[in-house]
């Protein structure tokens, strides 16, 4: 019997109304996410990559039910969580936590570090004696590389990297099984980024955590994740294990994304032309494949019919007519 994935997202969609008021209908809909499906196995680090506006953050928020999808199903450990009411959702909330992008705005400036990192316990109605709470907080700080002397300090006394460590400690507090990390590194400097990447890796191994790692930085995601889904304009265009990514990207968008990363090697200057054009508006996405206006391989079919996400090889799915389920595009 196949193992039940820890998280399964099935065809979720989120449309935001544009304009409209109490009495009037919205004038249009922003299709932020339109039909996304994937599964995260236990202990797996799953990366969700794409450029601004591709819907990756919206997917992350829907997984945690910080936002309700317009359609689709989200199963956590086999249970459809979208049907649960507030009370029934409680135990599931403890099993999944989030780390935010901005370590400045995601910590309450009026709370001490101890209060911040143990807040999930209070939110989960786990009443603990003061000493016990302090013990837990000390242990958490130790895990993320801060000192117990920091317990009574306030967020403003810390640097960005240290604040991100506090955010990580808070997420770990209730011993979750899944962590959704939304751009946890992009506000940090390179040298601090490496510290936090290593920390996430170590903690993941120590606690057997699963991650949904949301980022625009394909380099970081390739380093950290086991499998990667690339999103474009609200849909997954390619999903594959990390080792297949750099060697054999199948979707022209993934190819362009990889080619656009400036290589930190002066001997390998790319003479290649940058991909033209901007990401189209999600209010009025192009007909057919949403990538076709920027795609250098686009042909007639791409302009009229959207390609489904189909398996191109084992564990490797692509939404592109060039693959068409018949295998990979010839080199």
């Amino acid at each position: 019997m196949p193992e039940i994935p820890l998280l399964e997202v099935i065809d979720i969609a989120k449309h935001f109304p544009l304009g409209g008021g109490v009495f009037s209908r919205p004038s249009a809909w922003i299709k932020a996410v339109s039909g996304v499906s994937f599964a995260v196995r236990r202990g797996e680090r799953f990366g969700l990559v794409g450029e601004s506006g591709c819907g990756k953050t919206t997917v992350g928020r829907m997984i945690l039910r910080l936002m309700e999808p317009n359609r689709g199903r989200i199963e956590f450990d086999g249970q459809d969580i979208l049907t649960l009411d507030r009370a029934a959702m409680g135990p599931f909330r403890r099993r999944m936590q989030i780390i935010f992008q901005d370590p400045y705005s995601s910590l309450d400036p009026r709370m001490t570090v101890e209060q911040i990192v143990t807040e999930p316990l209070r939110a989960g109605n786990l009443r603990l004696a003061r000493l016990e709470r302090r013990r837990i907080a000390t242990e958490l700080l130790d895990k993320v590389g801060l000192r117990s002397a920091d317990l009574d300090k306030y967020p403003h006394e810390f640097s960005g990297g240290q604040r991100q460590r506090i955010g990580i400690a808070r997420a770990l507090c209730v011993r979750p099984e899944l962590i959704v990390a939304d751009e946890p590194l992009s506000a940090l400097d390179v040298s601090v980024q490496a510290q936090v990447i290593n920390l996430l890796q170590d903690l993941g191994e120590e606690y057997g955590l699963s991650f949904v790692f949301i980022s625009h930085d394909l380099g970081v995601v390739q380093h950290l994740c086991d499998r990667i889904a690339v999103m474009y304009l609200g849909a997954i265009v390619e999903l594959a294990p990390v080792h297949r990514f750099s060697r054999k990207p199948c979707h022209p968008y993934t190819e362009a994304l990889l080619a656009a990363i400036p290589v930190p090697d002066p001997h390998r200057r790319s003479g290649r032309l940058a991909m033209e054009g901007d990401v189209p508006s999600p209010i009025d996405p192009p007909a057919g494949c949403s990538f076709h206006p920027r795609c250098r391989y686009a042909f007639d079919r791409c302009r009229v019919e959207a390609p489904p996400l189909v398996s191109a090889a084992e564990d490797h799915a692509v939404a592109c007519w060039l693959n068409d389920g018949k295998g990979l595009r010839g080199a």
């Binding site: 450029e51 601004s52 640097s159 960005g160 990297g161 240290q162 400097d189 390179v190 040298s191 601090v192 980024q193 490496a194 510290q195 990447i197 290593n198 890796q201 625009h216 930085d217 394909l218 380099g219 970081v220 995601v221 390739q222 380093h223 950290l224 990390v242 990514f245 750099s246 060697r247 362009a256 994304l257 080619a259 656009a260 990363i261 400036p262 290589v263 930190p264 090697d265 002066p266 001997h267 200057r269 790319s270 032309l273 940058a274 991909m275 033209e276 901007d278 990401v279």
Partner: protein, 335 residues
């Protein structure tokens, strides 16, 4: 005509803060030749942006002030020169583009007018001539349907398009030097690639020099011919781009290069873990006697904590602020 366009010598800039006087830029020296691209790399707070603002005389004073040093641009010292002279240089001979195009464009003025403005101010063109040239420039920076978009306001445009408008504005007067401060940091990677290739094209066509300030080592490797690495207000290393990436000398430069995930997602030495630089950047108000990096350096020894190193020549065209050149035996092999 001399090859040298810009020469910064021992520039120090400090700011008054509630915690005392903070030296944001500490005896920074570097030079830029005509037609050259110099990359300035460093992390937040290292003084790279303050250095750039000093060149244009844009340090807010108070609380800031240039303590000492020279900034020579084509044989004229820009420090302490009369403000009318500076105004003439700024925007005409030296132009600058910033990280966040939304905050540096005027939100209530159509983009065509904004691009035309420097032409009227600096070159004395009439309004219609200036608008005509502005339209040409918007086409050159590849704004689609440029002539129809002259009346658009900045909020009508995407981030990448706004940065193109900024570039057009900076280029209209054909400056000799373009200072680009994190020009692509706010942009998505595919848009970043477009903007960088646009900048390379324009730079070559116009033969101008480019001072490219960035924290992104990939961008530097792709764009610069020479690189200056800054840490805590100081230049810690300077080298030709190939030397910097092949033979970095300063432990901070080495640490920066090793802390990036390599291509294909593995760290450069092939292991799963990234090499990290331990610790954090010292506070700008902190008084440090020896080398400013000593507290985080894996090779630091007594001398580093006692006396600040000067710039030492490593090889032709490469210099570093590090004692290890005189004490190579102190470099730990395991670190």
């Amino acid at each position: 005509m001399s090859e040298r366009l810009l020469d910064i010598e021992s520039l120090s800039v400090s700011f008054d803060t509630p915690e005392g006087r903070a030296r944001a830029v500490d005896r920074v020296s570097f030079a830029l030749d005509r037609g050259e691209t110099l990359g300035v790399v460093g992390e937040s707070g290292c003084g790279k942006s303050v250095t750039a603002l000093s060149i244009l005389g844009l340090i807010p004073s108070p609380p800031g002030g240039i303590e000492s040093g020279f900034i020579r641009f084509e044989d004229a010292n820009l420090i302490g020169c009369p403000s009318e002279v500076l105004r003439r240089v700024r925007g005409r001979d030296i132009a600058m583009i910033f990280q966040e195009p939304m905050t540096s464009l005027n939100p209530v003025l159509p983009i065509g007018r904004q691009v035309a403005e420097p032409l009227m101010v600096h070159l004395g063109l009439s309004r219609s001539q200036a608008l005509d040239q502005a339209a040409e420039w918007l086409e050159r920076v590849k704004i689609p349907a440029a002539r129809r978009r002259m009346e658009d306001y900045p909020h009508h445009l995407s981030g990448g398009m706004r940065q193109r408008v900024m570039i057009a504005m900076a280029m209209v007067c054909r400056p000799k030097l373009l200072i680009a401060d994190e020009p692509t940091t706010a942009l998505d990677v595919t848009i970043q690639a477009q903007i960088l290739s646009l900048m390379v094209g324009l730079k070559e066509e116009m033969g101008m020099s480019l001072l490219l300030i960035t924290h992104n080592l990939g961008v530097v490797a792709q764009m610069a011919s020479r690189v200056v690495v800054m840490y805590a207000g100081q230049v810690v290393e300077e080298a030709a781009v190939a030397d910097l990436f092949d033979r970095p000398f300063h432990p901070y430069t080495q640490g920066l290069l090793q802390s990036m995930p390599g291509p294909g997602g593995r760290s450069p030495d092939g292991s799963q873990r990234l090499r990290e630089i331990p610790g954090i950047v010292p506070a700008i108000t902190e008084v440090i006697v020896g080398c400013k990096f000593a507290g985080r350096c894996l090779h630091a020894f007594d001398r580093c904590r006692e006396k600040a190193p000067e710039h030492f020549a490593i090889r032709h065209g490469q210099r570093a602020r590090c004692w290890l050149i005189h004490f190579p035996e102190r470099r730990r092999a395991d670190a």
